[in-house]
């Protein structure tokens, strides 16, 4: 009897262990070697592929994969076959750093797309810089990543030469929303909440500064834990503060229940946030309470851009189960930027990559500074900090369970 139950227990534990190890190896549909004598260049990808933020992460992965497939099909770089190696960071900085080390260790990796979260990006930067491996993030928006910790005091210094991004920063995302809400929506009083993470706190800070500068009033502030779901006490505070709207610096897993609970507490006011609230998951979790809520996002709405039409068509044709979400277009452009940098190096080096890995990586990183092309999200190019030269921003509002574009424009100081 005792032996049998031990056997069952062991089976259960083994099954559990197998599950755990199964999530480590997610290379289900690798591209295959391609042409026989050509070189294979691996592009690494790091994003949350499981966990609460996986909706955004999978959109990033699929879009990058689409870019790789397109490059291989069109023979964008002659003699080079691209391959994507996606790694899951579960939205955690520590996992991101481990993935970065793993990617650096793979000699075929010549560039990395990702990650989604700014704090994860922060943990990866140095690992890549030490290896001269170029990284292009489709989604990191914290200004300190490119302009250094002192950016708010006007002392901008680029901390890592290997880090680039195609999304604009919170330094303009927060103020952009503040200007619209104060000038266009005529809202005067705001309750500012953030989740104390690199992205959330930075965004809420830049928003509040600009809103007060314009003449608006911050009637209350609070912080939440990103894993929390119970915001009843904060919602009551918001209701009694008499705020016209809530600004939330953080991501949708906590943002959606927060917005819902504020409305349920009886405050019929919208919750406004950054690009991490710009997701279909936000509406799925907050349900009808999401109506009227707003989110800013980097770039122009993809549906309105001519350059994005082909991307959307190809994405649909590829038959992905999940949507490309907020960062799909940016992920495609990030991947394409790496492909273009590889192309430049190959062309300058007699049609092949330098044989030495370190040399090749260094050359690609340098080439990235001059990359310029018409991407899905508009013109892709980088300034002296590695930031995108595209300063377009948009605001979206939830109507009938969907984010619809509200306004779009370039931010001006």
């Amino acid at each position: 009897m005792r032996h049998r139950s031990l056997l069952i227990l062991t089976t259960a534990v083994t099954a559990g262990a197998l599950t755990l190890s199964a999530c480590g190896s997610r290379d289900d549909d690798s591209e295959g070697g391609g042409g026989g004598d050509g070189t294979t260049v691996v592009i690494g990808l790091d994003a949350p592929l499981t966990g609460d933020l996986s909706a955004l992460g999978i959109g990033i992965q699929n879009s990058a994969e689409l870019a790789v497939k397109t490059a291989n099909k069109n023979e964008e770089v002659k003699g080079v076959t691209f391959e994507l190696e996606p790694l899951d960071d579960v939205a955690q900085a520590q996992q991101g750093q481990q993935n970065a080390t793993k990617l650096v260790g793979n000699e075929d990796v010549m560039g990395v797309v990702g990650p989604l979260n700014s704090d994860v990006g922060q943990s990866m930067q140095k690992v890549f810089a030490d290896a001269d491996l170029v990284q292009v993030s489709p989604a990191n928006t914290n200004p300190a990543l490119t302009q250094g910790e002192e950016w708010q005091d006007g002392e901008k210094t680029r901390p890592f030469d290997t880090y680039f991004r195609v999304s604009t920063t919170d330094a303009i995302q927060g103020p952009y929303a503040a200007q619209y809400l104060y000038n266009e929506e005529k809202l005067q009083k705001v309750f500012v909440i953030d989740d104390k993470k690199t992205y959330g706190a930075g965004l809420a800070g830049t928003f509040a500064d600009e809103f007060e500068k314009l003449g608006g009033k911050v009637v209350g502030t609070d912080h939440v834990n990103p894993d929390d779901k119970d915001f009843a006490a904060i919602a009551t505070k918001v209701k009694n503060s008499g705020a016209d709207f809530v600004y939330y610096g953080g991501e949708y897993p906590a943002g959606a229940p927060l917005a819902a609970q504020v409305k349920k507490a009886g405050a019929k006011i919208p919750t406004v946030g950054g690009d991490a609230l710009f997701s279909a998951e936000y509406v799925a979790l907050a349900k009808e309470n999401a109506e009227g809520d707003m989110a800013s996002s980097v770039g122009a709405p993809l549906t309105e851009l001519d350059t994005a039409k082909e991307f959307i068509k190809n994405y649909e044709a590829a038959g992905y189960e999940d949507a490309y979400e907020a960062y799909g277009g940016y992920s495609y452009d990030s991947t394409w930027a790496i492909i273009q940098a590889v192309k430049t190096v190959v062309e300058e080096n007699d049609g092949e990559l330098p044989g030495d890995t370190d040399e090749a990586r260094k050359a690609i990183t340098e080439a990235m500074n001059d990359v310029s092309f018409e991407g899905v999200t508009g013109k892709v190019g980088f300034d002296e900090f590695g930031d995108t030269t595209n300063k377009q921003l948009s605001l979206y509002q939830v109507k009938d369970g969907e984010h619809v574009p509200l306004t779009s424009g370039e931010f001006e100081g």
Binding site: S5, L9, G51, S54, D230, K287
Partner: protein, 309 residues
């Protein structure tokens, strides 16, 4: 302070939820002196059981019609897992040093979490849970949501039923006897194995009822929700006096109220601006726990229901 009644209601509701989960910890501890760290996951599985039932219903089913079936399904899932855990993970270790089943419990908790993560469709992210729609119910000084009525009714009802069961029925008295002295109880002809299974089953059933309250209140379930909820419920059980079923409920309510008050008012105290608000509520909850344990180590109501009955 004009929002005090509302904040008290917020705290009370949160506390009732903690209390319902805490009963499972307390009963198991009271009888086998085991801290069942997998209890939070038993709670989580109840939530997914209820969600599954809801997804099986035809579209447009009223939640009022579906709720009894969802409760039934949640209870079945949780009890199966709870009793299964006892049978296959804890019973083989009975008599082993007390550290062994504790480690098993932690392992089981991770295994159950990962099992839902891996095998429940789409459970890698939060799954939306059905909610009652309609305006909030106004009680003058405070308002509550329609879905929270469920918790307001279920928590006292469960407590009364459990109190009756423990003090008035034969099995309940056998449970008290086992809790007081398992060996003597066995000599008196009590089937202690059955009593232990019963304690796991009742605790799991209460956790399942709490899981539905969680879903109705927050509008979602996710595979990680058992961890924090379990930790809070464990705190509530210790706060009230672990082993004492009324203590678990009182401990839960005290904890819920403490969290609501900390979120609402601590930042208003001069000099405490940096130490208040939502991000600090857990800190204050644990400060309270430490204070109670320093001043009254046996918990608010004292340990072991059997000694008091």
């Amino acid at each position: 302070m004009n929002d005090l009644p509302q904040q008290l209601a917020n705290g009370l509701l949160l506390g009732a939820l903690y209390g319902l989960i805490a009963i499972g910890y307390t009963m198991v501890y009271g009888i086998v002196q085991l801290i069942n760290f997998a209890h939070g996951e038993i709670f989580m599985i109840g939530g997914f059981g209820a969600l599954t039932m809801w997804l099986w219903m035809p579209n447009g089913t009223s939640l009022l019609v579906a709720l009894p079936l969802m409760i039934l399904m949640a209870v079945i899932c949780s009890v199966l897992v709870g009793v299964g855990a006892e049978r296959f993970a804890y019973r083989p270790l009975r008599g082993a040093p007390r550290l062994a089943p504790l480690i098993t419990a932690i392992g089981l908790s991770i295994a159950l979490q990962q099992a839902i993560w891996a095998w429940y469709p789409d459970a890698t992210k939060s799954r939306p849970f059905p909610e009652f729609s309609g305006p909030r119910l106004d009680f003058g000084a405070f308002t509550i949501e329609r879905g929270e009525l469920y918790l307001l009714i279920a928590a006292p009802l469960c407590m009364i039923a459990l109190g009756f069961f423990v003090s008035k029925t034969r099995t309940g008295r056998a449970m008290q006897a086992t809790s007081q002295d398992p060996d003597t109880a066995k000599l008196m002809g009590i089937n202690t194995d059955r009593i232990i299974v019963m304690a796991f089953a009742i605790g799991a059933a209460f956790a399942a009822i709490a899981a539905i309250a969680h879903g109705l209140r927050y509008g979602e379930v996710n595979f990680k929700m058992g961890f924090i909820a379990g930790l809070k419920a464990f705190t509530a059980a210790v706060l009230g006096g672990i082993g004492n079923i009324y203590g678990a409920m009182i401990g839960g309510v005290v904890l819920g109220l403490a969290e609501a008050m900390a979120t609402a008012y601590i930042a208003d105290i001069p000099g405490m601006e940096q130490l208040g608000g939502g991000a600090w509520k857990d800190v204050w909850a644990f400060v309270l726990l430490i204070l109670v344990l320093l001043l009254r180590p046996q918990g608010l109501l004292g340990e072991r229901v059997a000694d008091r009955a």
